[in-house]
């Protein structure tokens, strides 16, 4: 990977936890709040948090357009929860004026399970990551309601609702592996970063 750091979008949310996970792989990690920081990274994690706030701040500080361009150019990006919403081409139940960066040909529904009382933990089968299920933490989580042809579904709940997807260099989960000690999704993202050599 020689030289180029991995970034974690740090406008709001649990970005420090993602920094910790990536550092446990031996990666050099920087937080990204400005276009010039984005320009230095070979991959980006968009953390959990409030998608509507990340959207506003990313546009307010001129980060949204460079982010869209980087995604279109093939920057590996992993989004968890709010990050998945940011990567979705289409959002259901968004607040007035809310935009996303897009890149994943999916429709997500925000707060799909309801309010905090419905937040939960569950074991989710993700065959791509091996036989051991992923212990997934869902917090006012979104679900993927529609997937385009080029999107691979990596995981779904028992009732069939899609909660992990991949398309090219973009990876998204409704849940928060950074809140557990199972880092296989981060590893998958980081391996993609190393293979892509974006910067």
């Amino acid at each position: 990977m020689a030289g180029s750091p991995v970034g974690v979008l740090a406008l709001q949310g649990d970005y420090r936890e993602h920094v910790g996970v990536l550092e446990s792989f031996g990666a050099e990690v920087i937080t990204v709040r400005r276009p010039e920081e984005l320009g230095r990274v070979a991959g980006l994690v968009i953390p959990g948090g409030e998608s509507s706030v990340m959207d506003k701040l990313s546009r307010m500080f001129g980060l949204a357009d460079p982010l869209k361009q980087a995604i279109a150019a093939g920057l590996p990006v992993y989004g968890t929860c709010a990050g998945l919403i940011m990567l979705a081409d289409r959002i259901t139940d968004k607040i007035a004026g809310q935009e996303s960066l897009g890149g994943l040909d999916i429709t997500v529904r925000r707060n799909a399970f309801g309010r905090q009382r419905e937040s939960f933990e569950a074991e989710v089968a993700v065959p791509e990551l091996g036989e051991t299920p992923v212990h997934a933490v869902f917090i006012r989580a979104p679900v993927v309601e529609e997937v385009g042809e080029k999107v691979s579904v990596l995981g779904a709940l028992a009732d069939g609702r899609v909660i992990a997807v991949e398309q090219g260099n973009l990876l998204g989960t409704s849940f928060h592996p950074e809140m557990t000690d199972d880092y296989r999704f981060h590893r998958r993202f980081y391996d993609r970063v190393l293979a892509t050599r974006f910067v």
Binding site: V53, A96, Q116
Partner: protein
């Protein structure tokens, strides 16, 4: 935070987790749906529903209780960000009502009139997480021991005077730092002196941080106030009267959000501080007679 069953709602991890997602953000006090929309548009990560902002509770006096359920419901319908609401200290039935109303977080708050001068709510009995105020580490750990999933330093609500917020966040984090320097056999006495459970004290001595998210509150009125709290080590900021008692709430709210994200960038804080109009007038905490200080409620 050990093994939890599958499909578990209301687990520690899920309760503490929502606060983790609010980090780096601003939670704003609102009294109705219109204010909630202004807060959401300005970039608040959550809103706190209450019947009167602290400055009005302070000036109007009387018993302050949990909000009218219809008002809270109106706020829930108006915004898609998390909605928190306040219950009186020890008033477990107000908390049960707020849980039935499906709010996202309950603030067992000294800003309202206490309902029990001895006991706080047994927060383990609830699926909805709680945030509680604290002025020092021992108080924070007693609340966590009762089940609080998030702590906010108290400050002195409704004053616009940030000095108490500064005092409390420095106190809590200073006491955390002090614990990390102790020898293992000194932690028993430390727990006694903090009046806090030994297990939590030992955990903090080893991790160097609280087991839950720590926001700050009480007197934040400007973008610079918010950024200072973040530089002092808060995970995020509650703003009460500071927004809706100012001349231009929408603009001030957005400015405080910007300054919280870029808390370490003086140029952004400077730019955000321009053209905001009147700040809330404010009261110096030193001018408030001790019996009227809200931070002294809770123990």
């Amino acid at each position: 935070m050990t093994d939890t069953p599958s499909s578990s709602v209301g687990s520690d991890r899920v309760k503490r987790g929502l606060a983790e997602m609010l980090k780096g953000g601003v939670i704003m006090d609102v009294v109705n749906a219109d204010q909630a929309r202004i807060a959401e548009d300005a970039g608040a990560v959550a809103v706190m529903a209450l019947e009167r902002v602290p400055a009005d509770i302070r000036s109007q006096g009387g018993v302050a209780r949990t909000s009218d359920p219809d008002l809270i419901e109106g706020i829930q319908k108006a915004v898609s960000i998390p909605v928190m609401a306040k219950a009186r200290i020890g008033h477990f039935v107000e908390a049960q009502m707020l849980q039935a109303l499906d709010v996202d977080y309950i603030d067992e708050s000294e800003v309202l009139s206490p309902a029990d001068y001895v006991n706080h709510i047994d927060k383990w009995n609830f699926t909805i997480p709680f945030v509680c105020g604290a002025t020092n580490l021992g108080e924070a750990l007693r609340r966590i021991n009762e089940g609080a999933a998030m702590i906010r330093s108290k400050g002195e609500a409704g004053t616009g005077d940030v000095s108490e917020a500064t005092k409390h966040i420095r106190k809590i984090l200073g006491e955390v730092r002090a614990l990390t320097a102790l020898a293992p056999d000194e932690l028993y006495v430390a727990a006694k002196e903090l009046q806090a459970p030994y297990a939590l004290v030992a955990e903090i001595a080893s991790t160097g941080k609280l087991p839950v998210v720590l926001f700050t509150a009480g007197g934040v009125a400007t973008p610079a106030d918010a950024a200072m709290m973040m530089q002092l080590g808060a995970d995020g900021v509650f703003v009460g009267s500071g927004v809706f008692k100012s001349g231009d709430p929408a603009k001030r709210a957005a400015a405080i959000v910007k300054a919280t994200t870029f808390y370490d960038d003086p140029q952004v804080i400077l730019d955000a501080s321009r053209g905001l109009g009147e700040a809330m007038v404010g009261i110096n905490v030193s001018d408030i007679p001790a019996p009227h200080r809200l931070a002294d409620r809770g123990w």
